[in-house]
Symmetry: C2
Subunit: 469 residues, 2 copies
């Protein structure tokens, strides 16, 4: 398999380091093969790469102790959330220790009146929303996978309803972060806005564990909408579906979700989730608001869809129908993977200005056809973001090269259209060339200067985001 | 007058530097006293402090030439927008050159379908909205003053309708920035979201000219709402007005603006703007949306206001009434200043979690009463942000000390409540102690490390935000 940036020669874990952490963490420190294997595997197409050890901290002081030991022994540190990353973020390119935050998953405070919560980074979005049950509030960011909030912040995740509620960038108010030198800082705060100094919160969001370890998050919550309704609509072709999206956004309709699935994705869903959707390009909609506002939004969108040739506009006002529909949408990644047993997915993630979305998707479809690969398309199209899940045989190097070439063509087109190589999955180590193509060498040099300022020894998730200088 | 951080000894402007810039910029380079005086004065209470020279670039290449000359001659660089800063950002503490962006004020592109625009930094928000006339789109961020967009980005400004449309952080998609070493970088881009590398855009927003010079901005535009309505409502006391705000926000009513004015502010407005508002605490509301949604929002808020003792709920559905009302609100700073001829305003700017807003304002009112100073209160209360405009005699040092002590008490209370020392005005050089109190010494050290990484010679607006290490 082609690794764009081959891992450096790994140093064995110093015995004194293992002894020190073993003594402090007991069974919460492990070098067992099965444990390491679990932490050397994510949802990307990259081959597994095992850390030398895994540790499960319970609080900030323990994270500081880990960072201090790593600094003294020069051991690379790779934070680990739920392992649902798609760009190899959790793969220890230079070896080192995987810091698994899954046991730091407490809700520390819910401030209902202020609509915020203070949480530990290992909590998953489903765990948080379960804890909020009955409060009238919810946490909206939903990348599909039941990812951890720390991981979602580290990759600047978003997902299906970012079009209405924003991304992690918009929904994290502040953080506690352990820096590479072991110092613990607080960034941001509980005020809704602030002009107080450099925006360290936003610098950490999307930094993929390379600038600090997130040990606490203050997140925004939103009132559960009074009314929710969902709809699906089939279209004769992808272009008409995308035109419907563009017109909806331009009219200012505050849709909560607006998702495109191409015909192959709908087939995959029908097969995997036992649904009976018409196998043509579809849009899934969700509307949030007061009863009157939801009706008004839905009516406007229905008219737009009809003007664009939409058929079978179908309501799902009962919660159970809605849940089934969105459960199917959430399982889309696994539905796609199931189209070809034994395969892995190489997922593209471009995002373009919405006026270019139809052309960008049409170009991607031509590229897919020319490549001979199987690659369903699904997208958070309200933001101009779409994915192709390129199904690859992990043992077929030639096919992986073809899939990477396809990804490159899709990215180059998106960049030429003023878009980004990654809307929500991050750079990891697979997209570093695209990072330079997108921002230019000087901007990436500025990123490297920031990295060196905060992590001079290069121990925090080394090899991710910023390519070696 | 008390300067918290006294300016360092100034070096005279090197003759070779003046010669070089004079030769290149002709009459667009000046060392004339009147020009320097204009650039050594902002809307803060700080005494004037003149730059050694002023230059007016017309494009990015000229900004690069200025930065290169400054680097070679070690001349400090202070960017200047509209001069409406309230925290001394444009005052050249260490001398140097004021870079006036007012002649870089072009709209470079409007992408109507994508709802974004590319502009030069010297354009003011009114200039931009005038240029957008007829497009069906507008730029929403409105700090009151007709500030430049570059200056607004540099201070992370917001204002009256941030509660609905967000702050500059949310409305700038990308930038072109000239770094201290003269390199030009592009940050962000036109895609609505991205996970591509460190968020340099958000790092520059709020950096007050200390990390780079903004030479271009990509800003989000919003569809002009189909319907707009405004209302004012008088309350028996500030507490009932604030309770109305809290309940409105917690119900999720998407108000576009919700502004508090205390009775003294209303008196000031009546006197200055010849209005006849009832002289008691008031809320000004504005609602944006479809006709049905605006009516629904207004009805909900009217009910909440009535439950809290609101009186004289008064509609202003005619555009001219609305304009008069909001013009009066926008002139509130000058209305307050006019309460005491010859005075200057020391404006506090705390922002707290909304559950603490009533207590925070009540405490501030007690502090004002105890201080014997005149200080009307006005606030963007939907975000938990409010200002007191403390009217001071600029020649009375003792009074200025009392005003600063009052500000300190208000800030300390806000910090104790989980708030920030500045919701939207920035740190400048007057609030550096508060920056440390708010974020802690270690977080400020991290900011200092970032500053050194991007500006190792310390020539970019030296003395602002990060206190000397």
């Amino acid at each position: 398999m082609n690794l764009p940036h081959a891992p450096a020669a790994r140093q064995p874990l110093p015995a004194a380091f293992a002894g020190e952490l073993g003594a402090r963490f007991g069974t919460r420190f492990s070098t067992a093969d099965a444990v390491r294997a679990h932490h050397g595997h994510d949802e990307s197409h990259f081959p597994d790469m095992l850390p030398d050890a895994v540790v499960w901290p319970h609080d900030t002081a323990e994270v500081v102790a880990i960072v201090d030991a790593c600094r003294r022994h020069r051991v690379p540190i790779v934070p680990f959330g739920a392992g649902s990353s798609l760009e190899g973020h959790i793969l220890p390119l230079h070896g080192g220790i995987s810091v698994d935050f899954s046991e730091m998953n407490k809700v520390l405070a819910v401030h209902g009146e202020d609509m915020d919560a203070v949480v530990q980074p290992g909590i998953t979005r489903k765990q948080l929303n379960a804890a909020l049950h009955g409060s009238g509030l919810f946490f909206p960011v939903d990348p599909g996978a039941d990812a951890s909030l720390g991981g979602m912040a580290a990759t600047r995740a978003s997902g299906t309803n970012a079009v209405r509620y924003g991304t992690m960038r918009d929904n994290v108010l502040g953080m506690e972060v352990v820096l590479a030198d072991g110092r613990v800082i607080r960034t941001g705060g509980r005020a809704r806005k602030s002009s107080s100094g450099y925006d360290l919160t936003r610098l950490m969001i999307g930094s993929e564990g390379t600038l600090g370890l997130i040990t606490e998050l203050i997140v925004r919550l939103h009132p559960l909408p009074e009314a929710v309704s969902a709809a699906v609509c089939a279209f004769p072709d992808v272009g008409s579906a995308v035109r419907t999206v563009i017109q909806t956004i331009q009219l200012g309709v505050p849709v909560a979700r607006i998702e495109l699935l191409d015909e192959l994705t709908v087939q995959a869903i029908n097969r995997y989730s036992k649904t009976t959707l018409r196998e043509s390009p579809m849009l899934f909609f969700e509307f949030h608001g007061s009863k009157a506002s939801v009706e008004e939004q839905a009516q406007m969108v229905q008219e737009i869809a009809r003007d664009n040739g939409g058929q079978d506009f179908d309501w799902a006002t009962h919660p159970e129908d809605r849940t089934r529909l969105w459960a199917a949408r959430h399982d889309v990644y696994f539905s796609c993977i199931a189209l070809r047993p034994g395969c892995r997915g190489l997922t593209t993630d471009v995002c373009v200005p919405i006026s270019r979305l139809a052309d960008c998707i049409a170009g991607a479809r031509e590229d897919i056809a020319a490549s001979g690969l199987i690659a369903p398309i699904v997208g958070h199209v309200g933001d101009g973001n779409f994915h192709t899940v390129v199904l690859v045989d992990p043992d077929d190097d030639a096919e992986i090269l073809r899939a990477e070439a396809l990804n490159r063509r899709i990215v180059e087109r998106a960049l030429a259209m003023g878009g980004t190589c990654t809307g929500e999955h991050g750079i990891g180590f697979g997209k570093q060339d695209f990072l330079v193509a997108e921002h230019g060498r000087d901007a990436v040099d500025a990123m490297r200067a920031l990295k060196r300022a905060l992590d001079p020894d290069g121990l925090l998730n080394p090899g991710k985001i910023v390519p070696a200088g």
